[in-house]
């Protein structure tokens, strides 16, 4: 059945993938058929109005209620370019579909909503009066009605309303099935978080990532770059058991004091604590040999240098071959702080895919951010994303951070098992990275030069450190 799916006008690229992920979570047909979508006549894909084909009202409701970006899902009773067309459409919508919601025992409410223009109270009332041809028999209840009806219309001139130009105005009338609970966002907003880091993931995005990862109770979710835990908080909210690791002991263990650390961030919201937090290097993960297929999802924001330079074990000079391994004297071992070397984007992504290929269950999901340099217009839209024989990429959603950078949320599904050959190829690559550490860092590829930790680079011919050009992760949406 087709539903009218109205989105919030934000994170445009994330909207359909979210609904698609949630459809997989709630619609148990597992036919692997992609969802069918349509946009209304004359509408651009960036329009808030879409039609989606779902198996039942229950599925539509579950999706809408769990989503962050669906303003509402509606059973469409009619649409038209004029009020007359709308009336025709509503009148010809089958009575047996309408009458259950119009009966005298029920209560209802009609809301008038306009996109891209403001409608006065009188105008709204007028619109409602004009619906008198619908035989409503129930009582009006504005606060807690049994049935919620919506009259929604878009403006006809594409003016300065922030929406993509709509060639022609369109009016929709429908019955609400469900809508997102965005009160989650203020509840979890970073501003109120006790322990914050410069790269903490904002709450809305953390929830979106959890949705892409099909998080639900009983699932085990891992973040190998856990930082302050903000991604796992999103997953824990939806019921997952969580685990995280970070190379930086100050970040993952010490935080900013006894009640300002990763543990307290979970406590603050009454969420179950992670079942595991570790200090570990994702370049040399501490998993026992033979361990595989334990995590249902891996969700993360890897350290790509610009904001949080990735580090790995070994020390710069050591990996360059300038010095031999330094033997740590026995009496210094407990407090010794091992030195680390910069971690290039290519190597970081290689390690992440290898970890995910091994540690995810079949059907498990890897959801992570990948940076894109926008300067080169040709790049935009043509970016080649990482590939791996065990994985299928099912969605990529771009968010523009500045004129120079975007980040793209990638969702990959593990389709094939991690074989001995794949493991061997990864080992060879790992050694190659170690041996050619300097080369990878210095001329690995465009990303590793751009996304090398800020303190390693200055922009050529300019003394301004790259750090000053760091993108704004929050604030710039749409």
């Amino acid at each position: 059945m087709w539903y009218l799916c109205v989105f919030f006008h934000r994170l445009l690229d994330y909207r359909r993938p979210e609904v698609e992920a949630l459809a997989e979570l709630f619609q148990h047909n597992s036919s692997n058929e992609p969802l069918e979508w349509r946009v209304p006549e004359n509408h651009h894909p960036d329009s808030p109005f879409h039609f989606v084909n779902l198996s039942s009202d229950d599925v539509a409701r579950d999706i809408a209620n769990r989503s962050l970006l669906v303003k509402g899902m509606y059973e469409l009773w009619g649409e038209g370019s004029t009020l007359e067309e709308l009336e025709q459409a509503i009148k010809s919508y089958p009575d047996e579909r309408k009458s259950p919601y119009l009966s005298s025992e029920s209560t209802f409410r009609i809301t008038v909503d306009s996109f891209g223009k403001v409608m006065s109270f009188e105008e709204q009332n007028n619109r409602i009066q004009q619906l008198a041809y619908i035989p409503f028999e129930g009582r009006v209840n504005l606060k807690h009605p049994d049935h919620k009806f919506w009259l929604m219309e878009t403006d006809d001139h594409g003016g300065n309303n922030g929406l993509p130009p709509v060639v022609q105005k369109r009016i929709f009338f429908g019955r609400e099935i469900g809508g997102s609970d965005r009160t989650l966002i203020p509840t979890y907003q970073l501003k109120s978080r006790k322990y914050l880091g410069p790269t903490a993931m904002d709450a809305e995005m953390a929830f979106l990532m959890a949705n892409q990862a099909l998080v639900k109770p009983g699932k085990l979710v891992y973040d190998p770059f856990v930082g302050t835990g903000s991604i796992l908080i999103g997953a824990a909210h939806f019921g997952a058991m969580t685990m995280g690791a970070d190379i930086d002991i100050r970040v993952v263990r010490d935080g900013r004091g006894p009640d300002r650390n990763v543990w307290s961030n979970f406590k603050q919201y009454g969420l179950p604590m992670p079942v595991g937090l570790l200090r570990a290097d994702n370049n040399l993960p501490p998993w026992r040999p033979g361990l595989k297929e334990v995590f249902d999802a891996i969700i993360c924001d890897p350290p790509y240098g610009v904001r949080a330079g990735g580090r790995k074990s070994g020390g710069r000079k050591l990996l360059k071959g300038v010095v031999g391994p330094y033997t740590v004297p026995d009496d210094k071992r407990t407090d010794h702080i091992p030195s680390t070397a910069p971690y290039s984007l290519v190597e970081c992504v290689h390690d992440l895919l290898d970890l995910a290929a091994r540690m995810l269950v079949i059907g498990g999901r890897l959801v992570y951010f990948f940076p894109v340099l926008r300067e080169d217009e040709a790049n935009v839209g043509n970016t080649v994303f990482p590939e791996h024989p065990c994985f299928e990429l099912i969605s990529s959603s771009e968010q523009i951070l500045s004129s120079r950078y975007s980040r793209v949320l990638l969702t990959m599904v593990k389709r094939r098992p991690y074989t001995e050959e794949i493991a061997e190829a990864a080992r060879v690559k790992h050694t190659e990275f170690r041996e050619n550490h300097v080369k990878w860092l210095e001329d690995g590829n465009i990303h590793s030069s751009v996304f090398t930790p800020a303190d390693q680079l200055t922009v050529s011919g300019d003394t301004k450190p790259l750090r000053d050009l760091k993108p704004k992760y929050r604030g710039k949406y749409v």
Partner: protein
């Protein structure tokens, strides 16, 4: 650190051939309450090295797990309860994990094992 984590970790020092299971030096063990989820336990069961879990639990004072376990035991609620408790509720707050081959200690403080290697171990 819960025993689920312990069951997944090994000493990954370069020259070590057999870094699993890590011995546990316990200084402070506490109980954390976790909601029991039977589906989770049934899914994770086949990934668990049972002997290592039973031994680790015993070394922390919980001797209720059988020496051996097999899939069919997951039918029993009593077994699920014990498995759940051992895997997820026993929490090592302070102490160390000790490499079975070299004796190298990986400290556990504030519940967090420090698995980072020194320069000469990578």
């Amino acid at each position: 650190m819960r025993l689920l984590t312990h069951n997944m970790l090994s000493s990954n020092i370069k020259a070590v051939a057999n870094g699993f299971p890590l011995r546990i030096d316990a200084e402070k063990v506490i109980h954390k309450e976790v909601d029991l989820n039977p589906d989770f336990l049934r899914n994770i069961f086949s990934r668990i090295e049972w002997r290592a879990l039973a031994d680790a639990a015993r070394s922390l004072g919980y001797a209720e797990l059988p020496e051996e376990a097999e899939e069919s035991m997951l039918e029993s609620e009593e077994f699920l309860g014990k498995f759940h408790h051992a895997l997820l509720e026993i929490h090592l707050e302070e102490g160390a994990l000790v490499c079975p081959e070299t004796g190298r200690k990986f400290s556990v403080s504030k519940g967090i094992p420090n698995m980072l290697l020194h320069e000469d171990e990578v």
